[in-house]
Amino acid sequence: MGVIRNLQKNSKTKQSVTRFQIVLLLMMFVGTFSYAQTTITGTVTDVTTGEGLISANVYLKSNLSRGTITDFDGNYTIEVPKDAKTLVFSYIGYGLKEVPINGRTAVDVTMSESIDIQEVVVTGLSISRDKKSLGYAVQELDGKEVSEVKTTNISNALAGKVAGVFITGSGNGPTASANVTIRGESSLSGKSQALFVVNGIPITNGLYSPGDGLNGSTTIDFGNASQVINSDDIASISILKGPAASALYGSRAANGVILVTTKTGTNNSEKGWQVSLNSTTNFETILKLPDFQNEYGVGGYGKYSYNDGVTYTGNNYDAFGENWGPRLDGTPIKQWNSDEAAVPFVAAPNNIRDFFQTGITASNNVSIANSSETGDFRLSYTNLSRQGVVPNTNLTRNTLYASMGQRLMNDKLNIRVNAMYVRSGSDNVPNAGYDESSSIMYGWLWYPRQVSIDDMQQYWKPGQEGVQQRYSEELWVNNPWLIVNENTNSFQENRIIGNANISYNFTPNFSFRYRFGADVKDEQRQYRRAPSTKAVLNGSYREDELSFMETNNEFLLSWNTDRLNGSKLQVDLKGGANIMRQNSNFLIANNPQLLLHGTDPSIYSLTNNRSNVLVENPRAQKGINSVFALATLAYDNFLYLDLTGRNDVSSTLPTANNSYFYPSASLSAVISEKLNLSVNSPLSFLKARFAYAEVGNDTDPYLLNNYYTPEALFGSNSAFGVNSLAGNGDLRPERTTSFEVGADVRFFKNRLRLDATYYSMLSKDQIILLPVAATSGKNTRLANAGEISNKGVEVALSATAIRRQNGLNWDITLNLGHNRAIVESLPEGVKDNYPMVANMYPNDGGTAGLDLVAVEGELLGQLRGLTFVRDENDNIVHKNGLPVTSEEKSIVGSYQPYLRAGVYNTFTYRNLSFGFLFDGSFGGKIFSRTHALMNTAGGITNNDDPNLPMSSLDGREIYDISYDATGAPVYDLVDAGGVVGPGVDIDGGENTTSVSPRDYFYAYYGNGFRRDNIESALFDATYVKLREVRIAYQFKSEALGNLGFEGLSVALVGRNLLLFTDVPSIDPETYSIRNGRFVNGFESTQLPSTRNFGISVSATF
């Protein structure tokens, strides 16, 4: 059934592909222009073997961005202006070669392996730099690496591919966020996300979840904002890892920068016009679900939940919405939906798995690009439509992207405009977490093992459609179909990211650049909760309107010394200023109780209310004015020194402290230049680098003073409360200092490459909220306090294991990132217990509170909660046969993994390439509330639990069930059951007391009034994933010529195909979201992660 449904959906996708193709063809026929261009063709070959060099770079010296690469046979074609004079050829390991054109149209070149390396990377301020001159760590990814894999959130495509970058995805629906940190977390307040910069302009990457918890909801993951960047439009991604690389983007860059450069018309310069088409279809299935048991159904202590088989009436307290009931052995039992008839009690083994469907993502991109002598443009349109694994969840995204460049006044004036318009929307974003009103995962905790999911499809009670839901037991949970079909969370977003860039070269040595960038976001969200929803009995409707704008005005003056051959010292000086402004305006209107109109379907609007509509309207403004300068000194192609300085003035700090300066210095020494290496030397390149940097940081607006917070009216009475935050008029900027040292070593003609970095960062004077005693009238006060150090090692080791021209090539890359974030100091009073996130599950009144805390001298991000009471030999202490939970909370370990590693293998054989990536995270702890609660509810076997060697199927109470003359159930005890927990008795000796397994599991997981024993479901979060498998075939251009194609490639891509972990029930790659921050180490009823398979076709004309 599910399969058929999905096939139909799929065929719809195919139809839309066809429509694109028609559009494309039309464009092709229209698009024939001519201009003063000349075409040069040729072959690049190895001087010794005579074989063609694949993927050698060929570009025009007068315009390095005009370039192409050679094909599999070493052939190239490049369009150049008629007056072009010199071509430049480069090939990794072969160095650089400049060849005058001299009016030729055929230029063949031979190249020899050399130790001269020239790789250009994009760095801060969008300045392209020769990589060897950089004194800090930068790693670059080709746009292809993200576009072929086509994750909806581009961050996920980076996982495992860059050393030191820690990416945690989740399964939370089509819009799921990704938690991206570079070199670890460095903040007590959760501000550790890497900064995204698109074409030189920072863009906002917030979570935007205002007003958590209204109408019973936990935070719904509408996605972090950077995910709108469309992978088809990405030319390259540079990751600047430390603050040294990024001091010039200001405060926000302290956590590293992900620099995205988008494609322009110059990326396709083989001929004037190029049209390309990319189409990807992805299928998504569940990767991991808990190991559900199918031997016992709903009830408690072996008895069915409802004595009379119908609905609980309050006469007898038998409300066990749990699977501790009778055997699923076919015994006739009066059930909730059997009209008081006794029908066989049997398992519905795949009820939860069957609820999920195959998700489909179709992404289609068409672009046309053109370049001429004086200008270029690229126009691209992408349509992404995604349907999640949770029924009735989806995402659509349309991206229109344009880039136009023009060179005027003899190339002295350059103008470029990039504009990206993204329209995204969803009819329903699934919620996860411990949330009864809209999380299906919450419902699965208690879902009866005997109820088929199809039996629930009719989710309204007959005759009460739209008013009263129908569900399998009245007490605890919602019908999952009601949640996905009625309790929807939808959104529509418009986002414009644009920039204009004007540069003028006064002389070859002196230039000016002005840039303006704007990131404008406008989003509406609607949250519907149907009447009869648990905790929202009257139904509710809420609308959010979120608008956000950031603008950056920036100018830059550059001067450099003459590039004369033989001049040993080269100097580059740049200076500029930036004005940044942020404006946000949120409007949250909440109709907490719908007015019901009999059994008519509910009207979800703000005006259809039987209460006041509650409105919140938080607005915020922030500005930073900056001046900055950068000096680069190069000596003899050997030593490179970079010096930077920036001074920020932030609106958020007190006037006395709002101006702060921070410098950086980095040095690169290309030692191999001075070693006079022979061609046969095993060492082919050696570079050492050192960097020191400081970054200052400000805070959020309006934190300096004390305010009163508006509250809902009481009748006609206005209400304001003293704001529980004590402001601080003496705040100072935060400081991060960092030091890094690294080496880039290459051996055997560059076939073995090692890039290693050691870094040490210290963030101090952090602006944090310190908790204070509630008896003081405040809950928190703002202060400069706390020091966190991050120390770590990044290693990128890559090798070309096999290299044969026209034969098999095998590249292998290993990326390792090791980081330890340690809390060096905390203020008095909270040294042992600074709550980074207090109480992870505020919606659960029964919880004793699980916290993420900082402890002086320990790893950042410690998990804290109630634990087992243990004897001196670490055995769990039992009382009356039940494990004893501690009175006081303890710290049980940090979420931090000690190693993140990825191994990427690529094989190419002529036109066929095959790659696979294993990616793993080693160490760190995770608490799985899904596992704990599913176990207390008797729903899973617990056979895969490394902590508790007890199956939930052991020792259950077993009754024979019949009905007496009045129809009341008669229970005859067959087996009293009982389990004996491993451990000792409180009075000494081994625990020998047998207890009911339900009681045991309840006590073990600390359920009840003091829910959550953190130790019981704490696991080593280590996992390894087969993250990516990719097979691509590039059709030969000769074969395609007749068909009108210039290039055609097909790729099969699989993601998250295999998961290896000891964590039961869940995929440990997950996080929770609380108060707008990502919290690693805690999992609570998250949606299952998914496995993806896809096919990607790209064609150019």
Partner: protein
Amino acid sequence: MRNNTIKILSLIAIFAFSSCEKIEDLNKNPNEPSVVTASVLMTSGMRTMGNSSVNQSFLLGNNAAQLTAKTLRTEIDVYNWNAFPVVWDAMYSGLTNIIEAERLAIADGNEQMEGVAIVMKSWAFSVLTNAYGDIPYSEAIVGVTTDNFTPTYDAQSEIYNGANGLLAELERAVTLLNGSGLIEGDIILRNNAAKWIKFSNSLRLRLLMGISNKQDVSAEIAALASSDLLSSNTDNVTMTYTGSFPNEFPLLPLKIGDFDAVALGTSAYDVMTGYNDPRLTRYARPNDGDYTNVMATNFSGAINGSESASACPKNGSRLGVAYYDYPNQTTAAMLEIDRAESIIMTYSEVEFLLAEAALKGYTTGNIEAHYKAGIESSMTYNQVDLAPFGYADFEDYYNTSGVTYDEGIDIWEQKWLALFFHGLEPYFEVRRWLAESNNDFSAIRFLTPTCQNINDNLLPVRFLYPGEEQSLNNQNYTIAIDNLGGNNSFNAKMWLLDF
């Protein structure tokens, strides 16, 4: 050429940097004021504490006093109390706004408003000190106006008897309430100074009775008995909900399962069925939903105690229609009665206090007259329907049901029943009565030790200080713990129980 360039650059510079505003101006908060009136703070503080009072009844007070019983998560009933912070946090949060309102009222010279703030805060502090013992009192809420975030704890004896203690403050409040000014933002007694005077006196009466085992309170109680006290149900100190979210009875949004985690207790069931008490259909729902069938068998009581399969059955009737709406079942509107309010103090309680005062010889009042008025006003307040129970009127009920006054314990029994949903007051009273009875449950005929409790049949006598106090106010917390005998124990006797 060069000129053009300069023109272009100047234009850009003007365009880009001409709109520079003063950067500090960006940090003016457009969302929250830094000045407000006392009235809006008063509304906020009253709502917070009013809501808290309902939750205190539902989760703690009613269950600890065995009026109701937990059917799930029975830690309160089995005397396995932990450091739940709900009472502490909510009351200090409400106090923050009340004390800030008091400060503004003083600045405004508004004596009546100041008086209201003093009565409200005295009530809140009395709940806190009765629950915990020593608490931050004189320095509480200092963090709003100073940089002191670690208020000292005051000894309970000082909180009651000190120069600025509760008893003195309530007396001062009456003077202020007779003074100048205007009450605004009062969502409890609707800006009525006369009612606040009655409440102030009545609260003083309650507090004096609470410490009557510690010191001679006879003169003060005698004086109060002839002062203005709550004298009818219209004087009741309750917060009436508006019925619209978020100003509705706090239990209404609960899941059915969470609401059903509390059921009518066996102790209350036994007493009410024993007297054929018409409040039965108000405190609980008939098990079959039939309000004309008031047979005892149509109701049931859950036994307070351990949550296990059979030893302590939990088959209690659900709580009454005023407290919750069930789908497809009778509602308060259908019975034409009001939804529940948040109760801070009622006239009925005052009558029982006066009955006890007369019984103990503090006054010369008529014990039975006060006792009877206490029962009658409780019945009226609960909008009982006497007819299904076979009574013509209250006199008929009083004379025939068996509740007629006989001995002192009758006062406690009827007061206990009347204190249903009166915050923590039923627990405080049961605790006092047990203390006066040498902690012997058998001396209090309507109570029993709870089923399979873990505290040797001893009702815990205080709440544990919340864990945050230990880390955030350690120095002062340590002194408080030392004064308690070195242990944050629920069996440690606070000053007023130490007799």
